[in-house]
């Protein structure tokens, strides 16, 4: 994962360098030996007026209300020992699409190349599908199948994105940024560690009663890449939209305390909001 993030950094820095080369001002023409009357040359019909390079402000701030798409659903199957026999339970954690908050600040350090840092917070509470095979207390190989739903499984992602940025200002109203870099994810994920069933003699059936949960809190480096376009009404204030892919995979300790299971964090985010530049 570290290697992937570095590769993205290199690619993005390459893109930014190329863009910077294009934005480089042309050399100043030599003075004419003879003064030429400053007679304006009328533009021919159909001939574009030369684009005047726009200055790039040093600071760029975006505040987005974003939407993070799902796709990080994951599951865990746990084997446990009960009634002198192995049983198992499985949980399917669905990470649904949901709102996220994204704030980033970029600073220009050389021409249109800059660095930035962004923060994304995603939080969602979703129910989790649960199923278990519980050994019978009296007989081997007669497990009771139970299933149900564990409500209120919380998921919270906080990602700090460090970005290399390349900025383009095609007009004085529009500013575009492409960026990429490593992301530092912290995920708090509720997981089912145990469960309770309701059973009664003769114990041939059982019903799911409730899941017992805990929150795992794990961090991992991932990557981010994205683009942002702003439209400025004034010199410093505008609105814009952005898309970003930021993701990682975390090995979380298993419910039983031994081994791990994977939790995917992040994903595709699209957002829109306020843009500021100074």
């Amino acid at each position: 994962m570290h290697r992937t993030s570095a590769a993205f950094m290199i690619v993005l820095l390459g893109i930014a360098a190329s863009a910077a080369a294009q934005a480089k001002p042309q050399p100043t023409p030599a003075k004419p030996t003879q003064p030429t009357p400053a007679k304006p040359t009328p533009a021919k019909p159909g001939q574009a007026k030369p684009t005047k390079p726009q200055p790039i402000d040093r600071i760029y701030i975006s505040v987005n209300g974003a939407f993070q798409t799902g796709g990080n659903s994951f599951g865990e199957t746990v084997t446990f020992r009960e009634n002198a026999e192995d049983g198992r339970f499985s949980t399917d954690y669905e990470v649904k699409s949901g709102p996220a908050l994204n704030i980033s600040v970029g600073a220009s350090i050389w021409r249109n190349i800059g660095v930035g840092v962004g923060v994304t917070r995603y939080s969602k509470t979703t129910p989790t599908a649960f199923s278990a095979s519980v050994p019978h207390p009296f007989f081997f190989n007669r497990p009771r199948e139970v299933d149900g739903e564990v409500a209120d499984i919380d998921r919270e992602e906080l990602a700090v994105h460090v970005q290399a940025r390349a900025t383009f200002v095609p007009t004085q109203h529009i500013q575009a940024v492409v960026f990429g870099g490593p992301s530092f994810f912290t995920v708090k994920q509720g997981i089912v560690t145990d469960f309770e069933i309701t059973e009664a003699y003769p114990y041939d059936t059982a019903t799911f009663s409730r899941g017992i949960t805990k929150t795992v809190d794990e961090s991992k480096i991932g990557f981010n890449v994205g683009a942002d376009v702003g439209y400025f009404f004034t010199r410093q204030v505008g609105v814009g939209g952005s898309v970003q892919w930021a993701a990682t995979t975390i090995d979380a300790p298993a419910s039983t305390g031994t081994g791990t299971f994977e939790i995917k964090a992040g994903g595709f985010q699209a957002g829109a909001g306020l843009r500021l530049r100074f």
Binding site: N83, H136, P137, F138, F140, Y201, P202, D204
Partner: protein
């Protein structure tokens, strides 16, 4: 009802008593088997009148989980306030309308019911008759005892425990002379030894405690405990027959809950399974349908000591080559089960070539013994003569049914078949007879398979372990079908796949419909009626039951 009307009904009932439809009149009593509309109408009136007179008193009201709309009244016959031993009438009703009535009542026209002996004198007479060391295990009561010949007698009756037996004893209430005794220990025949025990790991419901685990099932509704006598025969005797208390330290124990003591494992597991069978198949909650505690003793004598010459033969027959249920045994007469361990594997009986192994190792044995307790709390079939044989037979039938409930069908170890105790009582080579009784071919073990060749002697309480072969074979024919060896009559059974039907028929008849002193004929009528109740008046079930009884010569 006006007095005149009552008198008319009473008079009519008396006349009906003397000559009614399907009723028969043996010399000592009156048999009722009313299942048709006409018979039911007249006998229902008779029962109603007798209840009003106090000559019949309702002893219990039960509901059959298979037929929740039905109410079964079990009525005890009284004469001038004194109960008549074994004389009962059982009326099955739906919404107050009688569906069947079975009964065995005794005709008593005139009898003195004031005893010449008072209770103290009667108890002395009873103790004298029982022998040294005897004690009353149950309260003594005045009882009218119907006699096979002659008029009924006024007696004192009690269950008496001695150092090696528990039996019901009747002494004449006027003279103190012993009139009848029969054992209350419901045993399986002890004729040989067996080898081998069904393997496989079983789950056991135990209880953990500070220093390990004890055989105390806390998952099933009743108290279900297994006590390890640790080879101390005297201790086992004192507990079983002397009423000595059991202590927590007597519970079978294991340090890591991986149990290795074979009789403890099998007894504890199989008793639990049997309880489960009754609950799942018949909706019954244990022995008395009220979750009566089930106490079990094992290891009264270690298997290696089974042939110890210092052990009296009567104790060997009871505690080595035997398993028994005794409802009056144990602390405070709570009742208990016992499983013998048999002999060392190299010892076989010369007569059969069989070795007797751990009796607890046969699922049908455990179920058989527990079924005695079920019978005791339901029809209470008197453990004597035909009713005693029916008592044994019902235990065999349920024991076999439990096997089929849990085990795959087959003739091997741990497989369900119609042979009793085949997992415990075996020939070392595996050839020849296995087990102690066969429902398929009773004569193979010397038991009658037809009423015409029934045992008529007095040994073994009138041949209860032998004559059970007749109803056993009827049950087998009703399930599997086949031809009776003696009569040559064929039966179309319901099939093994439908065995549950026949289990329910026999369960309903034997626990709800039959009176305590039922004969084979009563059992026939009751099972046919139960088949009608459960599966309709016509059809394969009724046909199978009817044909089966006819084939074994019971009409």
């Amino acid at each position: 009802m006006t007095r005149l009307t009552a008198a008319v009904v009473a008079g009519a009932a008396f006349l009906l008593w003397m000559d009614v439809g399907s009723a028969q009149q043996p010399s000592s009593g009156l048999r009722i088997a009313a299942t048709t509309v006409n018979d039911l109408r007249t006998w229902d009136q008779y029962v109603t009148v007798q209840i009003r007179r106090g000559d019949l008193q309702v002893a219990s009201l039960d509901q059959d989980p298979s037929l929740p709309s039905r109410v079964v009244e079990r009525m005890q016959q009284f004469y001038q306030g004194v109960p008549v031993f074994g004389a009962e009438v059982v009326r099955d009703s739906q919404s107050g309308v009688a569906q069947s009535i079975f009964g065995e009542v005794t005709q008593i026209f005139s009898m003195e019911t004031r005893p010449a002996l008072d209770a103290a004198a009667a108890e002395r007479a009873m103790m004298t008759a029982a022998g040294a060391g005897a004690r009353l295990a149950r309260r003594m009561e005045l009882t009218i005892l119907p006699m096979s010949e002659g008029a009924p007698r006024l007696t004192y009756s009690a269950i008496v425990a001695t150092s090696d037996n528990v039996f019901r004893l009747f002494v004449d209430a006027n003279t103190g002379a012993e009139l009848l005794r029969f054992t209350e220990i419901h045993t399986q025949s002890a004729v040989g030894t067996g080898q081998g025990l069904v393997g496989g790991t079983k789950k056991l419901s135990m209880r953990s405690q500070a220093a390990g685990f004890v055989a105390d099932d806390r998952l099933r509704p009743p108290l279900l405990t297994t006590y390890d006598m640790r080879g101390d025969l005297n201790r086992a005797l004192n507990v079983a027959f002397g009423g000595a208390p059991l202590f927590p330290s007597d519970l079978a124990t294991d340090s890591d809950n991986v149990w290795t003591d074979i009789p403890t494992v099998d007894a504890h597991a199989y008793i639990g399974w049997t309880y489960d069978y009754y609950f799942k198949r018949h909706g019954r909650r244990g022995l008395d349908n009220r979750d009566r505690p089930i106490l079990t003793l094992v290891n009264g004598l270690r298997r290696e000591n089974g042939a110890d010459p210092n052990i009296p033969d009567e104790l060997r027959g009871l505690f080595v080559t035997n398993a028994f249920w005794c409802g009056a045994c144990g602390p405070a007469g709570v009742g208990l089960m016992y499983f013998g361990n048999g002999f060392p594997g190299n010892l076989v009986f010369q007569s059969t070539g069989q070795n007797w192994g751990y009796l607890a190792g046969s699922l049908d044995v455990a179920a058989h013994e527990l079924t005695h307790a079920v019978t005791e709390s339901t029809s209470n079939l008197i453990y004597l003569n035909e009713s005693g044989a029916l008592n044994e037979s019902f235990s065999d039938i349920m024991g076999t049914s439990v096997e089929f409930f849990y085990q795959p069908v087959g003739a091997g170890l741990g497989q369900a078949d119609f042979v009793l105790a085949e997992d415990s009582v075996r020939t070392p080579s595996g050839a020849g007879l296995q087990g102690i009784r066969s429902m398929v071919n009773p004569i193979a073990f010397g038991d009658p398979d037809h009423y015409s060749i029934r045992f008529t002697g007095t040994d073994d309480n009138g041949g209860v372990h032998s004559n059970c072969g007749i109803p056993n074979h009827a049950f087998f024919l009703a399930v599997v079908g086949g031809t009776n060896r003696v009569s040559g009559q064929s039966v179309t059974g319901v099939g093994i796949a439908n065995m549950e039907q026949m289990e329910k028929v026999f369960y309903r008849a034997f626990t709800l419909l039959m009176p305590a002193n039922s004969t084979f004929s009563t059992a026939r009528a009751a099972t046919i009626q139960a088949a009608r109740d459960l599966y309709g008046a016509t059809g394969p079930v009724v046909n199978a039951v009817t044909q089966a009884w006819t084939a074994v010569g019971v009409n």
